[in-house]
């Protein structure tokens, strides 16, 4: 009681002081927001300024490359085999392998592909065996230490057109035809790039373009000067399934084949992905039910507050 009265007196005294202060401050109120916000405004201005300065210094990307050096970016084609639930078209792989064998293989190796991996995906066993036997491979050293030649087996790899890179360069005017085994993975744009490159040789080079001696103009090749000339022409290959062998058809088939050679596991990988989805969704469903089961005693519990009985003094 005593303390309370003392507080009350203090409050009254303070109130008197406060009213005078408030009366004094109302005149300065118009100017006060700027003063209050000055620091914040300045800090914001500095922050914005530093951002602007940073953008001025480092923001705009420097394009040292001309579009010619960069090359024309390939168009995106709606590859069926690139869809999540689609496999390679193995008929197309077969055609593509034919194109590789009859056209590309004279310059480009496919050194990471053994005949055995073609079995069941591109060729039958007998076809692959027959094809392997057309080539000669080194044997293990015999009793005299001589290395002889033997016909190829399924376990042998596709033969390369040149003995080594130097021989390949020497035969191709200094340019090395790259190995195609992983080419779809090795180039930006993948399938689209290779397809565009194969079919993109224009009939005439655009006016003013300078194509160095021994090179060919291809807009998709960075620098536009490519050592490989156009190789695919209509009806260069005769397909066994009588698909019309237009340039773009052959290019499409061979690109799909090269995608297979770079990712022979693709079909299995997609199947595995589907399995993962099936199993995880099943396990998730299971876990939902198990949780429900485990929680059922907790969820169905009823907590009741029973007011304690205070005996006879209840009516107090």
């Amino acid at each position: 009681m005593l303390a309370r009265s003392r507080l009350f007196v203090g409050a009254v005294r303070n109130a008197a002081v406060n009213t005078t202060k408030r009366a004094a401050s109302t005149s300065a109120e118009a100017a006060s927001p700027f003063k209050l916000n000055a620091a914040g405004t300045a800090a914001t201005a500095v922050a914005m300024g530093s951002m602007a300065w940073y953008y001025h210094l480092y923001g705009p990307e420097l394009h040292a490359m001309t579009p010619v050096e960069e090359g024309l970016h390939p168009t995106k084609y709606p590859w069926v085999h690139a869809q999540y639930t689609k496999t390679f078209d193995h008929q197309a792989l077969r055609r593509g392998f034919q194109v590789y064998r009859e056209v590309c293989a004279s310059c480009h190796s496919l050194s990471r592909i053994p005949y055995r991996s073609l079995v069941g995906t591109v060729l039958t066993v007998d076809e692959a065996k027959a094809m392997a036997e057309e080539n000669e491979y080194d044997t293990e050293p015999n009793d005299e230490g001589e290395i002889e030649k033997r016909p190829g087996k399924l376990s042998d790899y596709l033969p390369s057109p040149y003995k080594n890179d130097e021989a390949a360069r020497a035969a191709n005017n200094g340019a090395l035809p790259p190995d195609l085994s992983l080419m779809v993975k090795a180039r930006h744009g993948g399938c689209d790039y290779i397809f565009s490159l194969l079919t993109g040789y224009p009939e005439e080079t655009p006016a003013g373009a300078v194509v160095p001696e021994g090179l060919n103009f291809n807009p998709y090749f960075p620098g536009t000067g490519i050592a490989m000339a156009r190789v695919l022409y209509n009806e260069l290959v005769e397909y066994e399934d009588e698909t019309p062998a237009t340039t773009s058809q052959m290019a499409k088939d061979v690109v799909e084949f090269l995608n297979w050679s770079a990712e022979p596991e693709m079909d299995q990988r997609k199947k595995m992905g589907m399995k993962v989805l099936v199993i995880t969704s099943a396990l998730f469903a299971l876990s939902v039910w198990v949780k429900r089961y485990k929680w059922s005693p907790v969820k169905t519990r009823k907590v009741v507050y029973a007011q304690p009985q205070m005996g006879g003094r209840r009516g107090h």
Binding site: P67, L72, P78, G200, G208
Partner: protein, 151 residues
């Protein structure tokens, strides 16, 4: 015909449907020719039908003229006519289209300027960039049509 046809029927956006929309002008697609492989089943715009007609006409002429040389020439012509790369035809169409008209105009203007400029000592200029833009436009427009036409 099979499972794929049912799937194709259920999905109007699937590729087999897209083909029909973009089917080449010269194509006379007969359903009997199309096999049972759901998607990617397409007619080449340079299908056999128009060529067959040409053949018939040429044969008639041939009989009038006679002579083996004529025949050889006719065969050569046939080979030339038999296959037209659908990519080229589609891209030509696309280059003429309205969407590519500005870039085509730029390219042509550039070609004119550069070819007409050879005598003077003007700085070297090429039309590669303009060509890129035109090719990009044409390819972009032709890509879905081409994929519908190829197997």
């Amino acid at each position: 015909m099979g499972f794929f046809d049912i799937v194709a029927a259920a999905m109007p956006w699937s590729e087999s449907e897209a083909e029909a929309v973009s089917g080449g002008s010269s194509t006379v697609s007969t359903p009997a020719n199309s096999g049972g492989k759901g998607e990617g089943e397409a007619k080449d715009p340079s299908g056999p039908t128009p060529d067959d007609k040409d053949e018939g006409g040429d044969e008639g002429e041939e009989k009038e003229d006679g002579g083996e040389k004529e025949e050889e020439e006719e065969e050569e012509e046939e080979e030339e006519e038999e296959l037209v790369d659908p990519k080229e035809t589609f891209e030509e169409e696309c280059k003429e289209s309205k969407a590519c008209a500005p870039v085509k105009h730029h390219f042509e203007e550039c070609v004119e300027r550069v070819t007409g400029n050879t005598d003077s000592k003007a700085p070297h200029e090429d039309c590669v960039e303009e060509f890129f833009h035109l090719a990009h436009c044409a390819n972009q427009c032709a890509a879905p049509k081409l994929w519908a036409a190829l197997k």
